[in-house]
Assembly symmetry: C2
């Protein structure tokens, strides 16, 4: 029976802020020492921030990481520090875990499974490690270290570490991008791996927002029976300290070791001593589904604002449900004093929507400007009278209005330094039901990955959470409208959102063919129409701002479709 | 001494248009049969178009390729057809060359070296082949087939084919993205490989524009001495037919075969017969540097317009050199009747620039609308008077004007179905000297990869080519200005373009650090300022339209930088 105390330091790194990240890392090492941890663990590439993308191609970026790694060494007295860093060796670059002890760099455990699908491009940057890494403590304790994707494959590295390496604990450092419900997937997988290997698994995940990605934290320790014995918070920094009591190694389930990996032992002189402090292995609650998505969106905005040097945001309030939700999340994320709204009514804006927008702003306690656009709009029409001649009024005039609003929002942004948050949802973006440079103008598209049906649920969730009507009830009842012409409703040109969202899910997320969808009894007419719109509007998505990924497949780096494309099946 | 007749069918495929591409392929097979070719060769992934990106993740896309491959078989009587296709086998997907003869599919040669750098993401989609492929003709002729990147590595596949496989000809099918001067690089490389292997190399390259990529064709045959014996045209479809006379195999330079690749023989019953037609191995000229870039840009626009169902384009003419060049290239690409220009003067537009814009439009013979923006601009200022209060006039008011112009251009686009071509150059885009949703509004950013210094050279080239002043001389002399406030000049806020372009080249293209640039004696003050601007303006580039890549590293898929990024060295 041996007890080892492990601290999982779930930090919020900033990509490229190596100096800032290293200071944060050092402060967490100190905190872990204060509670007499034997090992402190940081997430994948915690020093550089994740994902650093093409910064990794700059040799001086790698050097800078090295430089700060050396400074961190000094803080590592009497505590084993496991830290995610990029590591260059002989013209190769590795995604590695630096193993540090007593001011010395003992070695690097290199990531073997490099993901190159979905949002990942790791084969663009990294070479694959070739050894299963084992920390061999003087006391006999043996700990396997691996990195993110390494633990997703079985039989794989974890089996090798447990069987060949005789480990009783496996530490996995991760930067695992969030999507809704992923924590349950992760937890099931880690439990499975723990049971297979009869090891404790200590999983340290990154937290924070980085462009379109959210990292949700929730680092955890799972025992060899597959039971969660400790879990850190979701969506915020946390230091989770756990006492792990390892018994004699028991039988392994897997008799076969999958890989022909070399075993690499890193010997550690650290002697685990009797502890003076009692540690309670705490298990933080997991968010319920809607709360989880809501908080993910809030963290995404908060971090984008803070990490890019903004303070305040501005958004257009239309009196519709989308902008209402965006305003509510923004207020929760950065505070009501940092959210400014503009209502920009035209001759097509109803009294009801204008009043709802005002009521919402009052409920949230945010500043609201009312800036009518009629005069500007009329001036455009006069200016275009000659070239347009006797042509019919069409979508051109609708887009003019949306672009006037985009221009006004950007003027506020330029004059006051606000970040413009756009309010379009995933359903609209899928079919291009939006005006490029109009309602799409802005730096952060908060709900671009949230389908319309989920927008309603999240808005309802917000009201329920506050136990009062923050978002006016009428918004849930009124038929959605862009209000760009008289008596316009979204459903004049689009199928009902419940149908639209199911088609988007099948076609975009699941890559179903039209033929397969027809078999699945989705509305025939709707399918053809929606699929054609999705394909045709890739050009709009290409110029759209980034926003928080909350589904398994978001538009952007997750789905790389050509604009020039004749395949529509 | 054996003669074999090979036709290189340098086709312009459309991504996703499998039916259309297969018709084109069949017509080229017929043409090759007419001149009694023994072998007809098509580029890499010619059937699907290249690059198909995430279409490759759709199982029904792969099935559709298979379906049309079967139809192509029927056309292959008495001619060996080598065709680039995606090939799925046992849960793996390969980038392959289908080998077809007498209506039968004889096998697939699979790509081994999968590029995953720069613009390439092939490891996202494909598995690597494991065999060196040899076509073993009944007559004794042995031909190695490999795909694009396969031939760039040495010692590599070509050596294996030549030594183990006893080939005397190596056929390489490529879809090699263009950048300026790359043809010389390619030709040197192929010549080197020919000499090393003592093989003829028949290189068939794709032609055409696909989103930001251009494929420049210039397929060629190189003899074992490294001499070009035949070359197809640049930038257009071509069928290059060559008689290759192979002698007894001579000594190979390389004694060592690099790879432990299995050898895969595809036996071909085709008997080469005496030819009735005389073939002259023609060698098309290579474009001179500026002509090459000019034609690449023209092809990029022409194909984007045609492949996306447009007919006409519209652009804003400012009287400056950038929009003048864009107008000239557009006119050459799609004809003067398909190019519409708008001049949108404000109170800050000088008489000189307005007159120059008019003269240019007259010289090109394109339609010009003159739409003053003063009234609209004033209306915006009045509308914003209250919220802006007594704040100073600043960049906000400049951006307002640019965005009014963007809105007007888009209104023309919406009303008449024109594609808006934006006119910003690479220097401006690097440092963000442009207005998002203003001058950046549009669907195709023709010269986004052309630095300002090169813009001047290309404009001069155009005038020299026509031997008259198409682009007015005054544009070359006048200091560049955005004309968004009184007496404004680009060089008030930016270093001279020659300095700016050299910094962009060092920092963006060559990934130099600030420290290294300082050593290289670039202007100290300029470096710090320009680098900061480049880093800060990633968000603008992310929302920019795509445009033709002409340098080794264009903004876009070539350079994947985080927006949230604190690393600026």
């Amino acid at each position: 029976m041996k007890t080892v105390r492990i601290s999982l330091a779930q930090v919020n790194s900033v990509v490229g802020d190596i100096a800032g990240n290293s200071q944060k890392i050092i402060s967490y090492i100190k905190a872990a020492k204060t509670i007499q941890a034997d090992i402190v663990v940081f997430p994948e590439l915690a020093l550089s921030g994740y994902p650093p993308e093409d910064l990794l191609l700059k040799p001086h970026f790698i050097k800078e990481n090295n430089l700060y790694l050396k400074r961190i060494l000094k803080a590592s007295e009497k505590i084993v520090t496991i830290l995610g860093v990029p590591y260059a060796y002989k013209h190769k670059l590795f995604n590695a875990a630096a193993i540090i002890y007593n001011k010395r760099l003992l070695g690097f455990c290199k990531k073997i499974q490099l993901p190159n699908y979905g949002v990942f491009d790791e084969l663009r940057y990294f070479d694959s490690g070739e050894a299963a890494c084992i920390l061999a403590f003087k006391t006999g304790l043996r700990v396997g270290v691996n990195i993110c994707e390494d633990i997703w494959h079985a039989p794989g590295l974890a089996q090798t570490q447990s069987l060949k390496g005789q480990s009783s604990i496996i530490i996995n450092i991760s930067s695992s991008p969030y999507h809704a419900n992923k924590i349950h997937l992760r937890q099931r997988l880690l439990a499975k791996r723990a049971k297979e290997t009869r090891n404790f698994i200590a999983y340290c995940n990154l937290v924070g927002g980085q462009d379109e990605l959210i990292f949700d934290g929730a680092s955890m320790v799972i025992d060899p029976e597959g039971k969660v014995v400790a879990r850190a918070k979701q969506f915020c920094e946390d230091l989770l300290t756990v006492d792990i009591v390892t018994s004699k190694r028991t039988r392994k389930f897997y008799s076969r070791v999958s890989t022909s990996l070399r075993l690499e032992r890193i010997r550690i002189a650290h002697k685990i001593t009797r502890k003076k402090i009692d540690i309670l292995n705490r298990i933080e609650k997991i968010h319920k589904p809607l709360a989880e998505i809501y908080d993910a969106l809030a963290l995404g905005l908060k971090d984008y604002v803070a990490k890019n040097g903004f303070k305040r945001v501005i958004l257009g309030l239309s009196g519709g449900i989308d902008s209402a939700l965006v305003a509510a999340i923004s207020t929760d994320a950065i505070g009501k004093n940092n959210v400014v709204a503009i209502l920009m009514p035209s001759m097509f804006s109803s009294k009801e929507t204008q009043n709802d927008a005002k009521r919402l702003a009052a409920n949230l306690g945010i500043k609201l400007w009312v800036i009518p656009i009629n005069n500007i709009y009329k001036q455009y029409l006069m200016t275009l009278r000659e070239p347009f001649g006797s042509r019919d009024v069409d979508i051109t005039e609708e887009n003019l209005q949306a672009r006037i609003r985009g221009n006004l929002l950007m003027a506020f942004s330029n004059k006051f330094g606000y970040l413009v948050v756009t309010t379009g949802n995933k359903s609209e973006l899928s079919v291009g039901y939006c005006t490029l440079y109009g309602d799409t103008a802005g730096g952060f598209a908060l709900i671009k990955d949230v389908p319309k049906t989920l927008v309603y649920k999240l808005a309802r969730f917000k009201n329920e959470k506050e136990a009062k009507e923050i978002i006016p009830k009428s918004l849930f009842k009124r038929a959605p409208s862009a209000e760009l012409k008289k008596n316009q409703r979204d459903q004049d040109t689009l199928p009902p959102y419940s149908v639209l969202d199911s088609i988007v899910d099948a076609y975009v997320q699941k890559d179903k063919s039209v033929a397969a969808m027809l078999k699945a009894k989705l509305s025939k007419k709707a399918i053809r129409g929606v699929v054609a719109l999705i394909d045709k509007n890739e050009y709009k998505r290409r110029q759209y701002a980034l926003g928080v990924k909350i589904t398994p497949k978001a538009f952007g780096r997750d789905r790389r479709m050509p604009i020039t494309n004749k395949f529509t099946q």
